[in-house]
């Protein structure tokens, strides 16, 4: 990605509240026309970072550049970014149309231009006939769309979304995910999306920044994040994984040579360059195949079976007492071993990963 394509450039942003540091020097670049997600557990700093971009928090250090221009010191009303708030923040005393036109009127658009654009945006979110209603008369899903329309109407350079789906029920959430994604494609502006829901992040994003404790752990596309996690946090936070204690012998050319529990040798991609010694191997449960005991990479005993409808989840215990999970597809051809049976596990080389920590 060349720098010309970068919409928001965040460099070394630090945010302190008294003695507590919420952001420890975060750097990342968000590209034009990209659906970018900040993902992490609550308290990781993702919302703080979003508020710094919007201008509601003053950074304690670092810079934020929007299309090359330094906006770090600007108050929120001077930044060409708009926010969809978690609780929508629709002005209760104004109609839907007045809400949507608000940003444009404050920026100097003429009333007729603003009205025209407002109608256009309301059509875009499928609320064409609702202009005269008040927010109190709308359902949660409708309010959210008004919030979207209001934020998009002034044609911001970047749209910020602060967990906008968290107040919606499941079915609605899934429908809105699809709508948001297509909206981003349609408008062509960068969306910065904050969520703690990793499934949401995986399904909607072009790229994800996984955050924890005020630091970025990894940035990448959903497949990259899922299949090539860099450290234990990312591997564990996204989806399910097995973390095995291994003995690393060497790492070269991105491949690691190591010994698995039980002594078997193994080779797989490494997330980072590191020396010999103890390490952690990440293997997703669905990337393990069963084979007769003794003929695989690991030997294990089945300790439990869980029926999940689409999959069968198998709990196994290794010779060194570590527990692992294996996912088998629930199909006619799958042979599911009994509890107590001895099995062998074959790890998919490309899917296993030696983590950086």
């Amino acid at each position: 990605m060349t720098s010309a394509e970068i919409a928001v450039d965040i460099e070394g942003v630090i945010k302190r509240y008294g003695s507590f540091t919420a952001l420890h020097g975060v750097s990342l670049g968000i590209c034009e026309n990209e659906f970018f997600t900040l993902l992490g557990p609550s308290g990781c700093g993702k919302t703080t970072l979003l508020r710094c971009i919007a201008g509601f928090e003053e950074v304690s250090g670092g810079t934020i550049r929007l299309k090359g221009e330094d906006i770090t010191g600007l108050p929120p009303h001077k930044r060409p970014v708009n926010t969809v708030f978690q609780q929508y923040a629709l002005f209760p005393h104004m109609t839907v149309a007045e809400n949507v036109m608000f940003g444009m009127l404050r920026s100097g658009w003429s009333k007729s231009d603003a009205a025209q654009r407002a109608n256009q945006v309301l059509e875009m979110v499928q609320l064409g006939g609702y202009a005269a209603r008040k927010p109190a008369q709308l359902s949660g899903g409708q309010q959210q769309r008004v919030a979207l329309a209001r934020a998009l109407a002034p044609r911001p350079a970047v749209l910020l979304l602060d967990e906008p789906l968290s107040a919606l029920d499941l079915k609605l959430r899934q429908a809105v995910r699809v709508e948001l994604k297509s909206l981003q494609r349609e408008t062509g502006i960068a969306f910065i999306f904050v969520t703690h829901d990793q499934e949401e992040a995986l399904t909607m994003s072009d790229r994800i920044a996984v955050m924890s404790d005020g630091e970025v752990q990894q940035i990448g596309s959903p497949p990259e994040i899922y299949e090539s996690p860099v450290n234990r946090f990312v591997a564990d936070f996204i989806g399910e994984t097995n973390l095995l204690d291994v003995d690393v012998h060497a790492v070269s050319d991105g491949m690691a040579t190591l010994s698995l529990p039980g002594g078997h040798g193994f080779s797989c991609p490494a997330a980072a360059v590191r020396g010999a010694g103890k390490g952690h191997l990440s293997v997703r449960p669905e990337r393990i195949a069963l084979c007769p005991a003794g003929s695989g990479d690991l030997d294990a005993t089945v300790t439990g079976r869980v029926y999940l409808g689409t999959d069968i989840q198998l709990h196994v215990r290794l010779t060194d007492d570590e527990a692992m999970t294996v996912r088998l597809q629930n199909s006619e051809t799958t042979i599911v071993p009994e509890e107590g049976a001895a099995v062998g596990l074959k790890l998919e080389v490309g899917a296993a990963r030696l983590l950086a920590d």
Binding site: F56, K78, H93, R106, P154
Partner: protein, 272 residues
């Protein structure tokens, strides 16, 4: 569900509540009823008549009461407006400005008129005006009223502001409104029910005041309460009861208005 209600019910509490209400309303109802008494004797019932109400407006004491009523109204409106403006500004600072130097002190200051006993305020005001040579009259009454109306106006305004999260102002600024525009176009409209409530409260408080007014008014001026008191000192006459009933009705109307306005504002805000 039945078990839950039982735990909340204490035998005898309903009776006490009824007693409470009876005690609160009995004197007022009795006065209201007797104000329609046709007989001139205070206590013997002589049938229904509006004679005393007519006397209030046209009788020998009418001019005195009318002037007093006008004085009361003028002072109440002016004091309420001034107190409401001052209280609004203070409420904005106290609820929106986070922690600033002197905040606790400011809060104590606004509450001060409520904490000082009324008679002390009365004495202090009289002493002060005399000491600086301010002639007693409408102005002294007005100034004293503004001061003790401030906390009463402040209470509903502050309560209202606290129930408005600042996310609306943030949204406004996110949409390019300057801080002043955010205040004028978003916060102020949302605060209006509270401001109106505060104004009505301050108005009634000013209208009803007796003790402080009595101390600082000087000889020539009367407000409605002081005029009534002066008259009562000479004995309770039926026209007093008529005036009392009238004031009762005015108070009830104003308080109901204040309460209703407060509620509609709350409902509007809650639904988002």
């Amino acid at each position: 569900m039945a078990a839950k209600t039982d735990l909340r019910r204490f035998p005898g509490f309903l009776t006490l509540t009824i007693i409470c209400l009876v005690v609160l309303y009995a004197p007022l109802i009795v006065v209201a009823v007797y104000s329609f008494n046709a007989s001139t004797s205070i206590t013997k019932w002589g049938g229904i008549s509006l004679a005393w109400y007519i006397d209030v407006f046209t009788g020998p004491e009418a001019p005195k009461f009318q002037q007093a009523a006008i004085n009361s109204m003028v002072i109440a409106v002016t004091a309420a407006i001034a107190a409401t403006i001052i209280a609004t500004l203070a409420a904005v600072a106290m609820t929106r400005a986070g922690r600033f130097r002197g905040k606790t002190l400011s809060f104590a200051l606004i509450s001060l008129p409520l904490m000082v006993p009324e008679v002390v305020t009365a004495v202090a005001s009289l002493v002060f005006f005399t000491a600086i040579g301010f002639t007693s009259g409408l102005t002294t009454i007005l100034i004293a009223h503004i001061v003790f109306c401030i906390p009463f106006a402040y209470l509903p305004i502050s309560a209202r502001m606290q129930s408005i999260p600042d996310m609306y102002e943030q949204a406004a600024m996110d949409l390019y409104a300057t801080p002043r525009e955010a205040f004028k176009l978003v916060l102020l409209p949302l605060m209006t029910p509270g401001i109106l409530s505060g104004f009505l409260l301050a108005f009634i408080i000013s209208l009803d005041d007796f003790l402080i007014t009595n101390f600082v008014k000087g000889a020539g001026v009367e407000t409605l309460p002081t005029a009534i008191f002066g008259s009562v000192k000479q004995g309770i006459k039926p026209n007093i009861m008529a005036i009392s009933t009238l004031m009762l009705i005015v108070s009830v109307i104003f308080v109901s208005l204040s309460w209703l306005i407060g509620r509609t504002g709350q409902n509007k805000n809650q639904e988002t």
